[in-house]
């Protein structure tokens, strides 16, 4: 893990949610992404919606997503984000890694429960 990644670990899992959202729903603009994440988390994750934008910038700089100016349903000029090919690949590997980590941690919790 490079220092850049380490420093942005917090954004890492957040970025993962953004990528997954874009994969599931296709191209979206910023507000929609923020709302979607809040909804999926069952409103458990109430973030400052603004923090989404630096995260989007970071994903775009890594060329995992691309953006273009479009019209929203309400007729506003909005920036629409879209998953790129390398973004898709990244999401797949991240997902795998996430599951492995989650499984591993899960197993440890199970050991805890199995103990007399």
């Amino acid at each position: 893990m490079s220092p850049l990644d380490k420093r942005e670990q917090l954004y890492g899992s957040f970025g993962l949610m953004v990528l997954k959202t874009l994969e599931a729903l296709g191209p979206l603009h910023g507000y929609k992404i923020a709302r979607r994440i809040e909804q999926i988390s069952g409103n458990q994750l109430t973030l400052n919606q603004g923090t989404l934008y630096p995260a989007l910038l970071r994903l775009e700089q890594a060329k995992w997503i691309s953006s273009s100016w479009k019209q929203s349903e309400s007729g506003r000029r909005v920036k629409v984000y879209e998953l790129t090919r390398s973004g898709r690949k990244r999401l797949a590997t991240e997902e795998k890694a996430w599951r492995r980590t989650a499984d591993l941690v899960d197993r440890f919790f199970k050991i805890q429960e199995d103990l007399p």
Binding site: S2, L4, D5, H29, G30, Y31, K32, A34, R35, T46, N48, Q49, G50, T51, Y53, P54, L57, R58, E60, Q61, A62, K63, W64, S72, S74, R76, R77, V78, K79, S86, R90
Partner: protein
């Protein structure tokens, strides 16, 4: 490309579209808030409530924007850019300060950059050949022959070629002048180097086109008349005379009236033995006719085996050499023992650079001194400026700037200035070097390699960066150790910017000391130059013009007639006073030297047509001078110099005495079956002439006339110089003189045309070069020193204006006030001058090898320099301090 690399790339790209990124974000946030607003409105909130809720869920817009901006670009670069533009604006605002610092630093950096370039390209860089540290020059000390150094004879060459295991390759060469027949059949003088195939193997070069000499090339032998000897062309010659035509390979060209075959063109910049060579001709003598000791005239270079030291190779040659006894008819044990040959193996680079490295290091030291003066001077300027910026620093600190940020800002600002000075300095260096090479091409070895490249730019960049940091930090260093409040309070009061040590300003003392040293060096060189200019030449150089003439080999039999015909024809020109032809002229390389006594140093021989001494205005001391039309009374007459007569026949009458040319091994010259060549008879003695250099003691020389019947038959001088004394400006006659030579014989070629005066000037060019650079440095140093002292006095007055006002009010006399203001500076001056005297005395030794007719400790020079430095310093201090007396007490008391 990894994603982190992609990230950095887009961040760098972000630097160039910051404005766009900012606008985009603003638009994006606005849309976001509007969308959120819409949703809250749909949930039934009032417009105000909806707006508030949208803002709340978005979070702090300013922080988000800040965060976004940090990520969009590279922060440090952006900060640097901001400092840079701020610095530039600031420097433009104080244009006076900027220009002065820029000019002063440009002079200092330009001076040292010039000398560094010369030093690096000539002394430090390896020669431009692969593994050039293994290339050596091979010579011999030959005390038995009375010479410090001889080259190789053909026998020694073949012997080494067969036996010396330490040498990977060995090549021999000689340089001569010859003629090249142009397309229009006219002849042109060229510089020819005859070189064996080994020379190019030693150097490890490849041709630009064609091929190099091979060992097989030499096989047909020089006796085979149908064979055209292969030659290589220099790049420049190829481009100039053949228009860079590649089909020149295989073509026949005529050199010295003989057909030669072009087999290759050397690459651009290839310069061996120096830049002058136009054509290389194969030198591969037949081993059958080789001899041990007839002539040792070949220069040799060799490539020693990897891993061997020069000493090891020299040891090998020393072991191998004695085995030559018996390999050649003339390699008898007696001859070998008599010559006392001792091989010398020297790195080729040290041979090429000769003694120029001492000169360049001396100049480097001088330029470093000048740079130190420049630095101290500029740092004072920066310090004064820093004083005026206390309020700014205090304000920035109060607003929360970190000290590091402020320092960075000052460093960037100073570096902008030093970088500009460095660029100007490089331009100065480039101009100085180009001018020097153009004006005196032979002054510096490796002149073709002189250029400002990566190393020079790095050196100057380091200087610029170093000075930038120094000027950025140094003036503010003390400010940062004080609390900000004290700075704020002192906003418009001038603080003490100098530190004194026992009442001495060390910066000024240093400047005085270095200026003393530079002045002394320059004075010594100027005195040397004057002594060289006044040295007794022995002839009159005014109104003399010289033309190099080359005779093709086929005309050798008629040389005496041809040269005399030229003189006869030229002498008829209306504006010509007199003319003659000689084999070389004073202060240029001599062509022929021969021993005249066994075991003594060889003496130069000069061939001349009658009338030479009259043309040159060389006074006759005794006997005949062989003037034109003079009746010759003796057989085989020669003229010798007074110095030679004094040595050979001290206190005797030398006229009529015999003198004999010998072989290099001391044996009598024989001419085939006719037996020994008859001895010359001394017919006349002429005054001594500076033949070799302006420094050397009057030359010993034998003048051999070209008359009928011939005096010397075994040598035909084919490279001669026509010397003409004119009644008008010499250059006006040159076209007519060229025409005369062509009229006598069109196959003769006229080479370099130079006036005798320019040759004399040229002989002092090295001293002139060093003297000029040192004088420039000295003048700059004294000028800067004066500015430094004046600035220092002015500052004392500024700082003590109130005090001076009070003193004047209380009745102090003006002289007392002036004295008060100048005391410290005078003390500083005295200390600097005394220390400088010793430093100058020590550094003058560096110049010893360059000096002529002046002692490095010459008291008159030191006295004069001391007087000038102290006088100028004192005058400046007093003039500056005189302003103290003019202070108006009433106004002074009102100053804060």
């Amino acid at each position: 490309m990894t994603h982190s690399a992609r990230t950095i790339v887009s961040r760098v790209a972000g630097l160039f579209r910051r404005g766009r990124l900012d606008a985009d974000l603003k638009q994006e946030i606005a849309s976001h808030l509007d969308e959120a607003c819409d949703e809250y409105l749909r949930q039934g909130l009032s417009p105000e409530q909806a707006r508030a809720a949208a803002l709340k869920s978005f979070g702090g817009i300013v922080q988000i924007e800040e965060d976004y901006r940090d990520r969009a670009t590279l922060r440090p670069v952006e900060d640097l850019w901001r400092d840079l533009t701020y610095g530039l604006r600031n420097l433009r605002r104080s244009a006076g300060f900027s220009c002065v610092v820029l000019a002063v630093l440009a002079i200092g950096i330009g001076g040292i950059a010039t000398v560094f370039t010369l030093l690096n390209r000539i002394v430090l860089q390896p020669l431009p050949f692969p593994s050039s540290d293994r290339i050596v020059s091979v010579t011999h000390a030959a005390p038995g022959l009375g010479v410090a150094e001889v080259g190789l004879s053909s026998g020694v060459y073949f012997h080494y070629l067969k036996q010396a295991r330490s040498l990977e390759a060995l090549g021999v060469y000689t340089t001569t002048a010859s003629t090249f027949r142009r397309a229009d059949a006219s002849a042109e003088r060229i510089d020819l180097t005859s070189a064996s195939a080994g020379v190019f193997r030693v150097l490890g070069v490849t041709p630009e086109i064609g091929r190099l000499f091979t060992d097989e090339d030499g096989a047909p032998g020089f006796m085979n008349m149908t064979w055209a000897v292969p030659v290589l062309l220099s790049h420049d010659f190829w481009v100039d005379r053949f228009g860079g035509d590649p089909t020149v390979i295989g073509r026949s060209i005529v050199i010295g009236n003989q057909e030669r075959r072009v087999i290759g063109v050397m690459p651009e910049g290839f310069a061996f033995p120096d830049r002058r060579t136009d054509i290389w001709m194969l030198l591969e003598p037949p081993p059958a006719t080789a001899n041990f000791a007839r002539v040792f005239s070949w220069n040799a270079i060799a490539r020693i085996r990897p891993g061997l030291t020069l000493a090891a190779a020299e040891g090998d040659l020393r072991t191998v050499l004695p085995r030559i006894v018996g390999s050649y008819p003339d390699a008898t044990p007696e001859r070998f023992a008599h010559a006392r040959l001792n091989p010398k193996v020297i790195g080729l680079k040290s041979v090429v650079i000769a003694d120029i490295d001492r000169v360049l290091w001396t100049l480097f030291a001088a330029m470093a001194m000048l740079l130190i003066i420049v630095w101290t001077n500029a740092s004072t300027l920066f310090a004064v400026r820093a004083d005026q910026r206390h309020a700014e620093i205090a304000m920035r600190l109060a607003l929360g700037a970190r000290r590091l940020q402020i320092i960075r800002m000052f460093i960037v600002e100073a570096t902008v200035l030093t970088a500009a000075s460095a660029a100007s300095g490089l331009l100065i260096a480039n101009g100085l070097i180009a001018t020097t090479v153009a004006m005196v091409p032979d002054l510096l070895p490796r002149a073709g390699e002189l250029r400002i490249g990566g190393a020079e730019i790095r050196f100057v960049a380091c200087l610029a960066l170093g000075s930038g940091i120094f000027f950025g930090v140094m003036p503010h260093y003390r400010d940062f150790r004080r609390p900000a409040s004290s700075l704020l309070g002192s906003g418009h009061r001038v603080l003490e910017t100098r530190r004194y040590w026992l009442g001495i300003d060390p910066m000024i003392a240093l400047q005085v000391m270095l200026a003393m040293t530079l002045m002394t060096g320059s004075a010594l060189m100027l005195q040397t130059y004057r002594n060289l200019s006044n040295s007794r030449l022995g002839f009159a150089p005014d109104h003399l013009v010289t033309l190099q003439i080359e005779l093709p080999g086929s005309k050798a039999k008629q040389h005496v007639r041809l040269y005399n015909d030229i003189v006869d024809r030229v002498a008829q020109q209306p504006d010509v006073d007199s003319a003659s032809v000689a084999s070389f002229i004073p202060l240029t390389r001599s062509e022929h030297t021969f021993p005249i006594q066994s075991g003594a140093a060889p003496i130069p021989f000069k061939f001349f047509t009658p009338g030479y001494f009259q043309t040159m205005h060389i006074p006759v001391v005794d006997g005949q001078s062989l003037a034109r039309g003079e009746r010759i009374t003796s057989e085989f007459p020669v003229v010798i110099s007074h110095a030679l007569a004094r040595r050979l026949y001290p206190g005797e009458h030398a006229i009529g005495q015999p003198i004999r040319r010998l072989n290099q091994d001391g044996s009598v010259v024989t001419l085939g079956p006719r037996g020994p060549v008859p001895a010359f008879v001394i017919a006349g003695i002429v005054d001594d002439v500076r033949e070799v250099s302006l420094r050397e003691s009057p030359a010993e020389i034998v003048y051999v006339p070209l008359i009928d019947p011939p005096v010397e038959q075994s040598i035909v001088p084919t490279s001669m110089v026509l010397v003409v004394r004119t009644r008008v400006e010499p250059s006006l006659l040159v076209p007519r003189l060229r025409n005369d030579v062509r009229q006598v014989d069109p196959t003769l070629s006229v080479g370099q045309v130079r006036s005798m005066e320019s040759i004399v000037t040229h002989a002092r060019s090295r001293e002139a070069f060093v003297g000029l650079l040192l004088t420039l440095a000295a003048v700059a140093s004294i000028f800067l020193g004066i500015i430094g002292i004046y600035g220092s006095v002015s500052e004392v007055i500024r700082r003590r204006t109130r005090e001076i006002g009070i003193r004047l009010t209380l009745g102090a006399r003006p002289t007392e006030v002036v004295q008060m203001a100048a005391t410290d500076q005078c003390r500083t001056l005295a200390v600097g001058a005394v220390v400088g005297l010793f430093v100058a005395l020590a550094s003058a030794r560096l110049l010893r090898s360059l000096l002529f007719g002046v002692d490095p400790g010459e008291p008159v020079i030191f006295g004069t320099v001391l007087l000038v430095v102290c006088g100028a310093g004192l005058l400046t201090a007093l003039l500056g301090a005189a302003r103290a007396a003019r202070i108006d007490p009433a106004a002074a008391l009102k100053t804060p």
